[in-house]
Subunit: 130 residues, 2 copies
């Protein structure tokens, strides 16, 4: 059902880095880490990030200005995202809950407005930090 996107060289380099990272990465940290691979300017990073977000390979954690690889197979585009964020250790996990996504996908506000996209960020303390 989902279209395969062949990543370009820069996109692949940057995706691999984010995918390997145990935590979300920030743009300039990505830049620092890929300079040895020939990616030298912020724009090269941001352009790859934009594309990777667009095709759903990564998501942006808005409250942290950081990027995380998507490991949720039912999530091929960044249109319905939910994250769990520990406010102490900053551990961030993508939430994959059928009931949550169903509830939010069907949510209508008072005007009957229906939404094509949402992003939800939960904050609290993870197991380890509690």
């Amino acid at each position: 059902m989902h279209k395969e996107h062949t990543l370009t060289k820069n996109q692949q380099i940057i995706f691999d880095l984010i995918d390997k990272s145990p935590e979300p990465m920030k743009a300039y940290s990505i830049l620092f880490n890929v300079q040895k691979k020939g990616i030298k300017a912020p724009l090269q990073v941001y352009r790859a990030l934009d594309k990777l977000v667009e095709i759903g390979k990564i998501h942006k954690i808005e409250s942290r200005n950081a990027f995380i690889a998507c490991h949720n197979s039912s999530c091929q585009v960044s249109k319905a995202t939910a994250f769990s964020i520990c406010e102490i250790c900053e551990k961030i996990t993508e939430i994959s809950s059928a009931s949550l996504s169903k509830y939010l996908a069907n949510f209508k506000d008072k005007d009957g407005m229906k939404y094509s996209k949402y992003n939800l960020e939960f904050f609290g303390l993870c197991k380890k930090c509690r």
Copy 2:
């Protein structure tokens, strides 16, 4: 039940500006608008914004780096926020839905983690732009 916070001079000036604004305001636009009142530096703005967010008088729209006054009486702190964002005209409204907030306040993830705070941003087209 909720504690009244007496705003300081800078906090009041900045709150009044945001509260009067028909749309969310960005920090440097706020700065520009309050310079005639003697607030000259970004830090003065950010400090007031931090405090106003903390006490729930305003909220930050994370995906837009913008600030909006809270008009939701049941929302005295910024711990459970939901917004509707039109992707064309950028009209942004705070959503006040008892069922939504109840659902999210009780949401537990797979690990049984319960959250103390959340922020939800819905994207779509408003009435006018549809």
